[in-house]
Symmetry: D2
Subunit: 437 residues, 4 copies
């Protein structure tokens, strides 16, 4: 099994680790993900959504420097006076910055310089963590947020690297394919699992860290519904393709149909049809589409069109979370970033069809819920008020994490969000239906 791209963590649950240990592990993970890359791979931005890997490495470092070291480390010397301009992502509170569209035009600072920046900031952070000084509660909250933030960028690193390598007709491998485990050819049968109606409580209700967008926990009233026991597979999605699903506007949202025509969509992102059948570009080069594995790299529009074609619908985010809480005991562990497969994996053939699989890991699941504030949500004060709140319109919620999400980063209340047209994340779907619907 390839291991170059990930780091091992001690056995114990990560959130129980000492702060310096966790900090080192998370920071190392980001760099480990870039280890298989050439310097050239870390520079380019082939599409607006994708950021250069060295930008991710620098921006996450800028986060520590800006929000923690400048505030809490007396006498901290910033690494370079221009980096605040170069590596601010979207915080208006923190002044002007490089246009997002220009991230891929900057060859400097080069990768080595960015790694030196990381080392400089890591040393300052570890010195701060190791000192005896009493640090205020706010520091530890920002420390936790910084770790979670860096994990979010680890997922983006994984997906952006895939996109970057995919643009070359040479189909380069990020990691060698020969070490991948064999994958079963068939998935367990699809089954509809009932979820009871009534009042369900959703949103973060546990101990520990959550993002502000998971709050406030609140009650929702749901009608009884049914949810599929696993993600939709490539085999099932291929039926949709072969039935002409991409050529029949009746299944599509209007804006999705127009986009699909303009872009010439005929299959998920990364799929190519060759003499011998369908192939996909993966982190391990161009490989045959594995029929039992979940379909991924589809937009909301495609997920929704598939659901219409299949005579069902996408769940709402409240339904998804209510189901995830309902099925907790039978949820099978999924595939994560740490597994270094970088591909959603099939449910084992012998898994019970009466259990609900793949709720966490493998693929983000598109829901039919707009990404809006929960009742009682309030933006934080200061620059971090821009972290989540200003995106709460025109996007859709995805749930459950993916094979590129660090395992310690996910929760059943976790709300991810993308515009309906995005396909470069590990996005998939699971259907819902209501009796007499």
């Amino acid at each position: 099994m390839p291991t170059a791209a990930t780091v091992s963590l001690p056995d114990s649950a990560p959130t129980l680790l000492a702060w310096p240990t966790r900090f080192r592990a998370v920071r190392n993970q980001s760099q480990a993900l870039c280890a298989p890359l050439l310097p050239e791979d870390t520079v380019v931005q082939p599409t607006l959504d994708v950021s250069p890997p060295k930008w991710h490495l620098a921006h996450t470092t800028w986060f520590w420097e800006t929000f923690l070291l400048r505030e809490f480390a007396p006498g901290y010397q910033e690494f370079h006076p221009q980096y605040a301009y170069l590596f601010n992502s979207y915080y208006n509170s923190l002044g002007s910055r490089v246009n997002r569209a220009d991230r891929g035009t900057l060859s400097r600072p080069a990768l080595a310089e960015v790694l030196a920046y990381r080392a400089h900031v890591d040393a300052a952070m570890l010195a701060l963590l190791d000192c005896d000084a009493e640090l205020p509660e706010a520091f530890y909250e920002l420390l936790e947020l910084g770790l979670q933030h860096e994990q979010q960028h680890q997922e983006l690193l994984a997906t952006d690297i895939k996109y970057i390598l995919s643009t070359s007709p040479l189909a380069p491998e990020y990691l060698p394919a020969h070490s991948l485990p064999a994958v079963p050819n068939t998935a367990p049968p699809m089954a509809w699992l009932p979820v009871p109606g009534g009042v369900h409580r959703i949103g973060f209700q546990e101990e520990g860290f959550c993002f502000d967008n998971e709050l406030a926990a609140h009650d929702v009233l749901l009608a009884p519904f049914e949810l599929q026991n696993r993600l939709v597979t490539n085999a099932e999605y291929l039926e949709f393709i072969e039935a002409g699903g991409y050529r029949d506007f009746r299944y599509w949202m209007g804006e999705g149909w127009d986009l699909a025509q303009t872009q010439g969509w005929e299959a998920p992102l990364y799929w190519v049809q060759q003499a011998g059948g369908w192939f996909r570009f993966t982190h391990h080069g161009l490989r045959p589409v594995e029929m039992a594995a979940p379909v991924t790299h589809i937009s909301f529009y495609e997920a929704d069109a598939y659901a219409n074609w299949a005579g069902a619908r996408l769940p709402t985010e409240a339904e998804w979370e209510a189901a995830a809480r309902h099925f907790e005991s039978t949820t099978t562990a999924g595939t994560w970033l740490e597994s270094s497969f970088f591909d959603p994996q099939p449910v084992p053939v012998d898994a019970s069809p009466n259990e609900c699989h793949q709720l966490l890991g493998d693929c983000w699941e598109w829901t039919y819920s707009a990404y809006h504030a929960y009742p009682g949500y309030a933006r934080a004060a200061g620059a971090l008020g821009e972290y989540n709140g200003k995106f709460m319109v025109n996007q859709l919620v995805l749930r459950g994490g993916s094979c590129a999400t660090p395992e310690s980063h996910i929760r059943v209340s976790y709300r991810n969000f993308f515009h309906a047209d995005k396909r470069w994340q590990f996005t998939g779907l699971r259907l819902a239906r209501t009796e007499n619907n």
Copy 2:
């Protein structure tokens, strides 16, 4: 009071009128709205959202021809073989059509020809309605839908005409201003009216017509909240402007902020600052901003920014409908298309602040709810399945109708929807808040 642009209806409630009478009244209303225009005004499309008035006159006619006469009038002769191509709006089921962006490039058929088309179709429709033949139930359902559809285009006619005339620096009057009634300078004080929490039933639950998007009626669970007793006024909105609301990103959604910068927004659409203060372009030329009147022609982004600045929020559509049902007894009648003011009117100074005003009429109220399908919604079969369903993503719900809505067209369950950036409709806002929010 100007009357050229509207038609009088008999006293009795319109839905009780005989079909031929209603058909004639609705059809005449569309033409009456265009009566004050010159032929040149009926051609242009100064922005993508606006359609030429003669296009509206023809497209509504095409609807009758396509969905009713072709199906139910034996031997009906279509007016012109090319009109199906020219006046189809967005129905993929019905074949290719003029690009929306090209509607304003077509000088032909000219207005007179379009009016001849209307006369041809009206005669055929009235002959059908007057004949003794038994017509199937489906015919009467389409007849009702056609009338509702034409009323929707009457609202668009009113708002598109306003936009068209506004582009000329000559600031032409659609109707003379001298006949407008005096408007009070102050509105009744703003008050927060409580709405109880618990399970509320929303969606269409009455007798008669509704659009498919109002179904199925269903229960929602709401926390107790408070709603403002009237729409936000120009005076209140001006405070936001003068407090720098358009220059402070902290109040704005990210996409809204970027748009406001790009477009140079500094006030609602149609507002201009002149020596003596703020003026607005109206159907009656350029007029001073009336401070007690509701603010209108604002995007969702502006409504939301105002709410953030004011320390409150927009209601969800469920909250709005629950409140409208709750306050039914105290809802004061609003301003409608038939009034020919084409401007939202202030609440009378002596109106009770403990009643909820302007829920219906005056201004569409932005809600913080995405326009998604209700539970149990199903697209209709055939071309009319494209009427509503394919738009159910990336837009926001507006409620309550406006001064450009025909009075007989609105309901508390009525769901209008626009993209967050749209400003050319009569859009306004009313705030909500939750204790401890």
Copy 3:
């Protein structure tokens, strides 16, 4: 023969007419061209190059008001204070103006108002011309320029009207086709006519008016060459089409090839292939392509590709003018605006193949010469310095006038100019070649 669109002039050469007579004739001609239009036709701008006819009618009027009445008519009252903003075309010297792209969005002032503007200005101009006051020489120079300017817009009116009507699938007729004369099916044989080398003098060398861009007259040294005795015909151009000329990049300039692919060019503008063969949209509706008539509505790129395919080349403008002066005695009169055909006409079958036909009228002839200043050219002072000089880069020279040019407007030294991609003018070509080339 249709006459509605043109006006008759007295027999004598127009430049010998008294000023008031000429002024009236030219002004009437502009309005006569718009007489067959509906008000709706005068508003639209289906593409950036095309201006609404009522804009042409107003802009030419603005020219008189701005450059003559304001300067020379004491106490002249301008018609409307906003018209200087509305109808300035491109004179930076004269302040801000409506964006060119927005000309077709303005329904007001409507046609009737523009005609009133014309009447107001005409009355003031004629009063000035008729008064006994001594007017300075500069006035008469501007008077002549104003007439020439209005004639230029008459040609644009003819071609813009054609484009406007062509956008409707109804293919409306500007003038009825039934009155057109029969056209011969064959043209006289093509022949190469020799033009001697040596020093030729080009540029304006005669008495009377010329534009500044025709100056200074100067000597050029030419190698001997040959020129075709007539314009390239539709029959000849169709051979190029059928030989795959539009699908073989080897004949094309790089930028032309890319554009042809993007735009899907497969034939000249206005050509459509129907069951019975090739048709063209004309001022007289959709009509069969007349094989003996000159090909028209082609870009420079197409003209140049045709020349490459035919193993010849386009003449330079110096060659064209030298040839026109050389062949003067044998030049046959062409088709002009005044003929109301609005289509280039074939050379009579029995015309001598040893004479050079169609040098003036019928079609503008693309040359392979950039539109640059002649040696000794100097921009005029003031706003009129923007008339010609600022366009002298990135365009190509066309020579000889077209069937939409007023006959009294053209000269052998006349320099017209368009970008290489333009097709909406009556543009055609004639080939040149050099021995051993």
Copy 4:
């Protein structure tokens, strides 16, 4: 003096060297230019005109493989089957290729792989050159063309590298500035040197290599004129800036003025105004503008506006070449790529003002001549017919070479060409004037 970026050549004139020696020298020069770069610098394309350095290194190699090795080296094995797709620049004859706009999105093949490609092709070329086999004349013509082609890309490498490094706010140095020679503060006085009128012969008339666009040599008739004795300096250009030249439309071509407004041009490319005055980004970092040095990095529009402001004009290309031939004996050698200054240098203070300086080297000089085919020009057959001919419209001729041109690459008949808006080459100007003009 920095040397890392260039290679030394033996003393003898390069064209007299043996083929293998020249081949090695030219190929090494390309790589030497990239030696100061980091791998990251070789990937990016910050604007459409700029190509990634590793693309230049690969494309020049593709040229040898495609046009020479495939044709003349029996049994040659191409390095990689996809490289023909990846590194074809614009040859339609040779099939599809990467879109120009996407060159900067491809991280692979990485620099090391491109260098391996170069080594593979170099070895094959040298084996071919060293073998005893008789090679046909066509081979040696292509060999010469390949060397000239690679030299053209060396100039582009120098200018593209400058642009790439300039985009970083870090202002990185390509080569250290400390080793640059001192530059004089003043230039010799400007003087007008007369050039006699009459028939001049221009175009290539010598022995050896020329591009097809320099043929056929031909006679032109010129009026007597005067030309400046040196290039326009930064000091002179600064007067234009300070006189408001960038804010006065009267000096500008219309398209240039619009572009200057849109782009916010206020000075040449790379100029920035800081507290202490004007600085320029150079290959040696950000440096003060040297007043005696020629102005460079200006568009045709700026050169033309300067000339208008100065009351003079740009020479035509025929005038420039006639003057260069006339002044041959007094032409002072200029600055070239081999000097590694990468900046045009001032004329020595004590240079004679009666001699014509800087005709070759230092800066390309904008002429007021469109880049069109000379009389008698014929495109070559096959793919190389696309080398020059298809660009012969919509561009302007520049003459004389620049400080980034290899010295052995230039001639008085050499015709370079760019669109009027381009500024990233070392472009400057020299004025001409005609008596009584």
